[in-house]
Assembly symmetry: C2
Homo-oligomer: 347 residues x 2
DNA sequence: GGTTAGCACTCGTTTGTGGCGAGTGCTAAC
DNA sequence: GTTAGCACTCGCCACAAACGAGTGCTAACC
């Protein structure tokens, strides 16, 4: 009854988990013996199962049902039982085929990636664009709209475009706007967006700005451009294939499902969770409550990071039930992340 | 038994529809008499109901249940029974509060509008951005990315921004790109995006273009920029509040719901339907099968058009069950469309 | 001592039955 | 034309019985 698992117990546990992943039904001792490799009697298996239950790796929904793996069991499974196969060739081909960037914008590529993740995994795909603020500044342009409205267009080093409509104090000519943009492009070259904000504030305090009206105006305009974070729409979270989770038997409960969809619509908390993944390199796995999101209970998240430049990093992954085909999904996420990195190399 | 409805029948039908909208339960003769204004015995009401059923305005799910309105009944209801009240002041305020455009981009405003529609109606909000191709050209800019990649940024008259990464044949300097953009901005001023495409093709055939390498390059670059329609991500359809339809009792059937969500994810067919609304001015209503989308059976759509300029027109609206609160939703859609038009006036 | 056959037991699921009640259609009286 | 009365239909619910998958325990086996 030690905490160490015997080879046999591990084997049985693995069989149970894989059976449960495949069928979504509690697994009985009988079923296991019929399955591959295990030539023991049901009674023996039952003994082992009782042990596993005591260790907190299995639970039975009720006395006369089979056993179901706990989160702890899944954790053990992905950490030491599961050996990840490489990605299937046909999957690799499909990912490759999706990926040509010419004629598209970064946003649409990321959205398409999310869709592809959902399509291959049969769960829900998520892609988070790199935080705009950690991006390098590349270029700013101003376009005159009607009246005092000016459209500011911001391009980051990694080719992500943001635009904002700005209500300026006074009407400005097209020439003025071009000159301002040139000035700002010089001033802000090579900074991150976060640094840009500080730089603008500093610059506003200089003598030069105080006496040159045009300069002051340029700075005021840019201040508004860089104000207020990511800006609405560009929350940069692409969730695709939500409908896939409707097929999962664990979500036949309508209230449960509403909760999940609400979490998807809110995006805020999910984004927070995914943002935390930025720091860890490589594939990360959150099982059930490990996400610390109660709306996501019963769900797992597999993520990996991708890069669009030396140090601009985004996150992509797959959300599915804890009873997820980890062995299949992990290589998909891994390979996709690497491919997207290659694709968006922009420096 | 004439096809003409008596005043009394109309009154009863209206009561049935409104009761059913409120409760989602088949309505019995008894219930009706208890409701407002009708002081007849249940037996009389039953006679009337039998007539209405024969006219195809009501059906009963089974013999001992009440009656349920048919699509035909809803159509009659919105056409001649329902008198649309103005929008409630608190709703108007909420819409007004959402709407400031400064510091945001057109896309995020539209997305927010969709969210607001869903929030007020408690159904699902949809907003279609104006077709990019019917938009007037305002400005083009090129930004040099790494290697031979160029980022093309396209601004339409109405302030909508599109960007595309282009793989050019040869590496180009920043100065070249600026010069090209200037040339193209002159060339294409005042055309619609659709006209722009033809103009580029014409221009490529002129003597001038044949002997001026820079010009030819500019044209090739712009050709790629304008190729291939709306470009991926910017399908320009914003659907928000999908989770709201989960609360509707008619979608307690999980398969039914999966179908609806699939339709939302595909977007293609829905977009087609909404595109057709562009031509009709004012509020339009599609009830059930009138949408001609079988995935949308049992659902209704209320739309209105909005403008972002003299002749760039988009569509917004609400999707809900046929058993929708038409009286409440119609003014919301109407008012929102007018407000968005005012907000996005850009000329 | 680990393994296994046998067996009583548990408990969710399915099936069947009867009563209840909402609602109808019909008929006859007002 | 309207209404009361009444028999009838049919979904829904509660309860009970039969079923069966699966368990835990015990005793025998190698």
């Amino acid at each position: 009854m030690g905490d160490r698992l015997s080879e046999r117990s591990r084997h049985i546990l693995e069989a149970i988990i894989e059976d449960y992943i495949a069928t979504a039904e509690p697994v009985g001792s009988r079923t296991i013996t019929r399955r591959h490799g295990i030539s023991l009697s049901p009674a023996t298996v039952r003994n082992v199962m009782a042990d596993l239950e005591e260790m907190g790796l299995l639970v039975s929904p009720h006395t006369s049902a089979g056993r179901v793996p706990t989160e702890k069991a899944y954790r053990l499974y992905v950490d030491s039982l599961l050996e990840v196969r490489g990605i299937a060739p046909e999957e690799r081909d499909m990912i490759g085929r999706q990926c040509n960037i010419a004629g598209r914008d970064v946003g649409s590529v990321l959205k398409e990636t999310s869709r592809m993740l959902s399509c291959l995994s049969r769960y829900t795909g998520v892609v988070v664009a790199p935080r705009f603020t950690t991006n390098m500044f590349r270029q700013i342009e101003f376009v005159k709209l009607g009246g005092r409205r000016v459209l500011a267009i911001l391009v980051s080093r990694s080719g992500v475009v943001q635009n904002k409509i700005i209500e300026s104090d006074e009407e400005m000519g097209t020439d003025d706007l071009v000159r301002m943009a040139n000035y700002l492009n010089d001033l802000l070259a090579g900074l991150t967006i976060a640094e840009v904000r500080n730089r603008i504030r500093e610059e506003m305090l200089t003598e030069k700005a105080r006496y040159d009206a045009m300069l002051a105006r340029a700075l005021r305009l840019s201040e508004q451009t860089f104000a207020g974070g990511e800006g609405g729409d560009a929350s940069g979270l692409f969730i695709e294939g939500q409908a896939n989770i409707l097929s999962q038997p664990e979500f036949s409960d309508i209230d449960r499902m509403r909760e999940v969809f609400h979490a998807f619509e809110e995006k805020g908390q999910l984004l927070e969770l995914l943002d935390r993944c930025v720091n860890a390199e490589g594939v990360q796995i959150f099982i059930g409550s490990e996400t610390h999101l109660h709306q996501m209970s019963g769900m797992s998240l597999i993520t990996s990071t991708y890069m669009t430049g030396r140090d601009t990093v985004g996150v992509l992954g797959v959300i599915g039930p804890t009873r997820m085909g980890y062995g299949k999904v992990i290589p998909i996420v891994d390979y996709t992340a690497k491919l997207v990195s290659r694709l968006l190399e922009m420096e």
